[in-house]
């Protein structure tokens, strides 16, 4: 078990740091708290796997440090870091039985037979692999194979952290749920630091205590699933999390009003002083936050252009003047056919300057 700190880390696969656009990781500072479950979320090619491989020591970063419990492990090889890692595709030693597979990391480390037998037994018990122990690993299904890959990581005592690189990619959907639950149970039982790379946000949000969102070699935000959803620190996070993503409406500050094409909202009093010249402003609001204005609520006039039924609600394209926003509307109420008042709840309506979050409309200084 360990707290993993990443300190001022930059990485380029050709060891050339001069061109920032070609870096796999651009200056990452991050601490993974001991015992927490993290999801590392981001689109393909954003540096998730690089980050994972640097933590486990499979890849050596160009500059920067990796610390386990405060000790610099930058120069420690993978096998000395005591990390468990499960890859996208199951990796098994085909010629061995399940038991031999599980025992392999311990045998390589010269553990005595009694210890090996005890640990293999414990891990097999935990992962429901006991009936398979004597079988050859080659003939098993993908889900079992991934469990064995995981077991090879867990079999070592006092693993520093367990890293998953999109481990459920090749698993059938109905088994996925079961396996994910198992992971969660294992994590809770062993109190391990767990880092789970995925590009599937529902997977990330259900599994993790905290989510790290990456884009293009940078960490955009670290936070609880709720944080990411309600208060994305960057426009990228707002777009990436949630389906559909957050609405972003370009606007300008004119006196005490935030004006956009088609309407205006009351600006919070802190905005003017905090704003730097030439910053591009935008209003960010979730489709799920927008609602039909009640009596006396501040509203702008909108009209439904198109609506699609999604499960128990509609996702509607609503035209507010020349601005088009997405808005969720309940399916048990008839959709407004004419112009209606769209309410932007101040607590859920955020202001972004140059794509970065400044605050919401409710806060006042």
């Amino acid at each position: 078990m360990a707290e993993i700190a990443i300190d001022n880390l930059r990485h380029s696969y050709d060891n050339d740091l001069s061109d920032p656009s070609r870096l796999a990781l651009k200056r990452v500072d991050l601490t993974w708290k001991n015992g927490s479950a993290y999801a590392l979320l981001g689109p393909s090619g954003c540096g998730k796997t690089s980050m994972l491989n640097i933590i486990s020591g499979l890849v050596r970063q160009t500059t920067g440090r990796v610390l386990f419990n405060g000790n610099d492990v930058t120069d420690l090889p993978t096998e000395a870091r005591n990390i468990a890692q499960v890859f996208q595709f199951p990796v098994l030693y085909d010629t061995m039985t399940v038991e031999q597979n599980l025992a392999f990391p311990l045998r390589n480390r010269g553990e005595d037979k009694a210890t090996i037998r005890r640990r293999v037994g414990e891990v097999a018990e935990m992962l429901d692999l006991v009936p398979l122990l004597k079988k050859r690993a080659a003939g098993l299904g993908a889900a079992e194979k991934q469990k064995i890959s995981l077991g090879r990581g867990l079999v070592r005592e006092d693993v520093a952290a367990i890293l998953f690189d999109e481990p459920l990619t090749v698993i059938d959907p109905h088994v996925k749920f079961e396996l994910r639950r198992k992971l969660k149970l294992v994590h809770d039982a062993l109190n391990l630091t767990l880092i789970y790379v995925t590009h599937d946000q529902s997977e990330a949000l259900t599994l993790a205590d905290e989510v790290v969102v990456m884009s293009d070699g940078e960490v955009m935000q670290v936070g609880t699933p709720q944080d990411l959803y309600e208060r994305p620190k960057h426009r990228f996070v707002g777009n990436f999390i949630g389906s559909p993503g957050m609405n972003f409406i370009p606007c300008t500050l004119e006196g005490e009003r935030l004006v956009f094409a088609g309407g205006a909202l009351a600006a919070p009093n802190w905005l003017g002083p905090r704003l730097k010249p030439d910053q591009k402003l935008a209003i960010g609001v979730r489709p799920q936050a927008l609602c039909v204005a009640g009596a006396g609520e501040e509203a702008v006039a909108g009209r439904i252009v198109e609506a699609q039924l999604r499960g128990d609600s509609y996702i509607a394209d609503v035209a507010i003047g020349e601005t088009l926003v997405k808005m969720r509307l309940p399916d048990h109420v008839a959709l407004p056919t004419d112009v209606f008042g769209v309410h932007f709840p101040p607590r859920s309506t955020l202001v972004f300057a140059d794509d970065r979050l400044l605050g919401d409309l409710h806060e006042q200084d």
């Binding site: 300190d7 001022n8 050596r60 500059t63 920067g64 440090r65 930058t74 120069d75 420690l76 090889p77």
Partner: protein
């Protein structure tokens, strides 16, 4: 604080790498050295052939110095200007190309049948084809001579091209079957559903998909036909005499002109090298008969 971290990390990067890393690097070095040694072992005899091809017979017989003495292209000029030499070269190319075309055109449909269908006797036929790859050519010398004389093909490129089919066709079927099995069957089914006839599907859709396999197969047919001597020598005399045979006869006829022989030898290696460059990315898979 930040600058401190920077200094530390730069220092870290400069310190000698950890044990595992240096042992990995050492392993890499050992591998590279072994490979270098082996490639040297491979190249030295070739170099010796090239060296000889640039020398006069008297100089060749005089010493074993590493560098050629008085190098010149005289031997090559002799070959290029003497029709009895260069015609043999053309003869070789003729039957080799003929063989590649025949082998490919019969092997393609057969390999498709083996990769897609189950039919009566399929395994037996496949095994029987392969047994022909195990037949020592020496066994067939005399019967081949009689057979091709009887049908009037003796001393023509067709005789050699057909005889080489004995080992090239089974190999071609085997390699192509390996490549074809890698193409999902759904592609065939989709095409038939879309109303393609078999020949049209096979030529316009399927063959382009296994381009690499066809290239590799052609290369192997070319190679095995090109390097074979025994059958080529038995089935030709004057008109269709191939270069490899011309070389063995030059030895007995004009005494031993090692220089000329070496030049002819170098010229026999060149076409193969030209072909291999084109298929270099598939060659490893091809050697594994498309089964990796």
């Amino acid at each position: 604080m930040v600058s401190d971290a920077n200094v530390t990390s730069l220092a870290d990067a400069a310190t000698p790498r950890s044990k595992a890393r240096s042992s990995g690097a050492r392993r890499h070095l050992v591998g590279a050295m072994l490979l270098g040694l082996f490639l040297t072992f491979q190249m030295l005899p070739i170099y010796w052939l090239v060296r000889m091809s640039l020398m006069k017979p008297a100089d060749i017989m005089a010493s074993a110095d590493f560098l050629p003495k008085a190098p010149s292209f005289d031997n090559y000029m002799t070959i290029f200007t003497d029709p009895t030499w260069y015609n043999t070269y053309i003869n070789s190319l003729t039957y080799v190309i003929l063989n590649s075309i025949i082998s490919l055109s019969v092997a393609l449909p057969a390999a498709y049948a083996f990769s897609r269908y189950k039919f009566i006797g399929d395994k037996h036929v496949f095994f029987w084809l392969f047994t022909n790859r195990m037949a020592p050519p020496a066994v067939f010398l005399l019967p081949f001579f009689q057979l091709y004389s009887a049908v009037g093909l003796f001393d023509t490129p067709f005789a050699v091209a057909l005889a080489h089919c004995l080992f090239n066709v089974p190999l071609a079927v085997w390699i192509l079957e390996g490549f074809m099995s890698g193409v999902p069957k759904e592609i065939d089914e989709t095409a038939y559903v879309d109303g393609y006839s078999f020949p049209r599907f096979f030529i316009t859709i399927f063959l382009p998909l296994i381009r690499a396999g066809i290239g590799v197969t052609a290369f192997f047919c070319f190679m095995f036909s090109w390097i074979e001597l025994l059958l080529a020598r038995t089935l030709t005399s004057v008109e269709a005499k191939p270069i490899v045979v011309a070389m063995t006869r030059a030895v007995s006829a004009s005494g031993l002109d090692w220089g000329l022989l070496a030049a002819a030898g170098v010229l026999t290696i060149l076409p193969g090298m030209a072909v291999i460059w084109f298929v270099r990315n598939y060659i490893a898979k091809g050697f594994a008969l498309g089964r990796v």
